[in-house]
Symmetry: C2
Amino acid sequence: MKIHQRNLPRVVIIGGGFGGLEAAKALGKVDVRVTLLDRNNHHLFQPLLYQVATAALSPADIAEPLRHILRKQENAEVILGEAERIDVHRKKVVLTDGELDYDFLIVAAGARHSYFGHEEWEKFAPGLKSLDDALEIRRRMLLAFEIAERTEDDEERRAAMTFVVVGAGPTGVEMAGAIAEIARVTLVKDFRHIDPAQARVVLLDFAPRVLQMLDPELSESARRQLFDIGVEVRPLTLVEKVCAEGVQIKGGEKIAARTIVWAAGNAASPLGESLGVPLDKQGRVIVREDLSIPGHREVFVIGDQAHFAPGGGTPLPGLSPVAMQQGRHAARNIRALLAGGWSDKFEYFDKGTMATIGRNRAVADAGFMRFSGLLAWLAWLFVHIIFLVGFRNKLLVLINWTIAYVTYGRGARLITGRQWGTKGGES
Amino acid sequence: MKIHQRNLPRVVIIGGGFGGLEAAKALGKVDVRVTLLDRNNHHLFQPLLYQVATAALSPADIAEPLRHILRKQENAEVILGEAERIDVHRKKVVLTDGELDYDFLIVAAGARHSYFGHEEWEKFAPGLKSLDDALEIRRRMLLAFEIAERTEDDEERRAAMTFVVVGAGPTGVEMAGAIAEIARVTLVKDFRHIDPAQARVVLLDFAPRVLQMLDPELSESARRQLFDIGVEVRPLTLVEKVCAEGVQIKGGEKIAARTIVWAAGNAASPLGESLGVPLDKQGRVIVREDLSIPGHREVFVIGDQAHFAPGGGTPLPGLSPVAMQQGRHAARNIRALLAGGWSDKFEYFDKGTMATIGRNRAVADAGFMRFSGLLAWLAWLFVHIIFLVGFRNKLLVLINWTIAYVTYGRGARLITGRQWGTKGGES
């Protein structure tokens, strides 16, 4: 256990997402002790989280225990715990139950969804960041069809069969597409009193078009593909209120809906506040060119929690390639500082963006070329399988997808977590 | 939708376990309307539930939505709901939110674990009947190792690394064997401060031997195989108290343990009480020879909820083959009654019993011959794959098992359901 035997400089990494994990790995051959802290025991492959929420994959298919990923890296340890604040003066991370000293710190604690000051909306419209979020959305979506099947009230049935997705970024588009597909294809024979294909799926956004970060041409293609599978896309639409009965549109009607998914807005982890440096409006830490924070060249902030604006322009988006490149870069800078050198400035290499809409449907922007439809969908499948962690996960996801493609089915349609009633014992 | 078009006799089945589902299928070609009621949306392959609890399989691998299983059976509908009581005089099943009329009723609501009057032990020692139970046990087991890794208190570490399984029937034996294997094989490289192989796994039972329903020779073989993988088997041991700190043995020491699994004792669903007929000590309905209840030849009770003692001897055990055969038999009797005939008495065809202990280790009693070790283990694998519902599930379980066998790993080592701390945002 190398980690105990030598008195090496200690690097603490907060967060085992794409950025933090990549940083830990990049420090594998460096003479430091690496401590990776996370409040979950697993790394989550977030780009496929919507597939758990829509019953296509199981949680274990897209998650891998952090300590298992790093089991062969002798200079690394993994701690399950929660950071409460960072004390940059005493060089300590204060946990809910202890403290960690550091010589170098990489903060990669990510973001949660933001309700723009209306946190009370969360219980009616959960967001999608963790496995527990995904299972809750899956539960609500499947339960809605069960309620529609059982009720004799027309209004209740209509609300149960209406699904509203707020936010038309990649997650919102993928969720809306997947729900439409479930209703129109997967469930079509399962019910006796309703026709699931009558389900209404509404995708709202304040922006003038879906997937706004993409080229307008691709946005338009995505909108058309969403229309083809029956998603009602409503751009330039502002949500005024969310409640148990549905969504109130500003200056418009009220959409009665039992299931609402929140895919709009991000707020960085509140951990950044304790660093005592400027934050942007989303709570992201405004980092210097080398990803460190003002006054502390031993503290780096990366990924969704960092505001890094190349050339003073728009900040880099919260995407896994950004976080991974920043993780490797922070590790490289720590190595340089340890060798008595200087840290280097970060440069992002943009490999493109993509989003999937449904069976054979997607859009992709690879920088040098844009494409949509089947080709984009195949590219999406390929990229996501390649980057998924672990041989077992790749194989299981590939098999699940193959079976789903051939059978038009979804294998994980379980309602768990809460019982239907409250009494124990029966059925 | 045939179910609506004709005014056929209505058969209500309470519970979509092995018995209820088999009864529903057996009524597929009969001119009746079948309503299958369950408070979960899925059929659960309970013999493999311990593999979900021990992180080898995902919930979706061993569960299938009931309405999906019955989607092609036009005379059947599935209702998600909870039965509160049965009114045999008005021929109604009263739900928490409604009522169902029946002409024939099959009660197959199963059993929960029983704490012999000490229901307050449940929160310290959860049992294993549902997917939620299995995920809770998985969470506790994995969290125990995390706590052992982090604590600096020797006593706390020892308690965290002690696992007590109460009850040495098939479920208890399988749980104890699987926990020992995880500690000694799967986790061996994952930790830096503890050696998981030092974990202590204790299997307690009041009975004089493990797997008491099997031949003494097989019991002895199972005990030896458990010993080989490091399980401490303690027969003739009575639990006096269970609390957060551990288990107090009657007339013996206190075992400090953080993780306790309850695999002793069953209590039938309380739904049986509302039938107004005699029950046995476990709350099972004492059924007549044709599986109906006294005074109501249109009401059948089957599976774990029924007390059926052939020739006045010991009642049949709570095993899936018993439930399935009874389900088919109840369906056959309904058909006979509808045809103006008489219902027939039930006869159980015993195909044998088996239990697995770990990698290459098991015991099996096929009636005409008994075997243990590798051969029994292969038989166990084969039988469980064959009987698992659905092509997709079979394939995924087979692949999970193959990967686990080759890599000595367990793929679903996720701690979900509750966060480590209480605050939102970080990592």
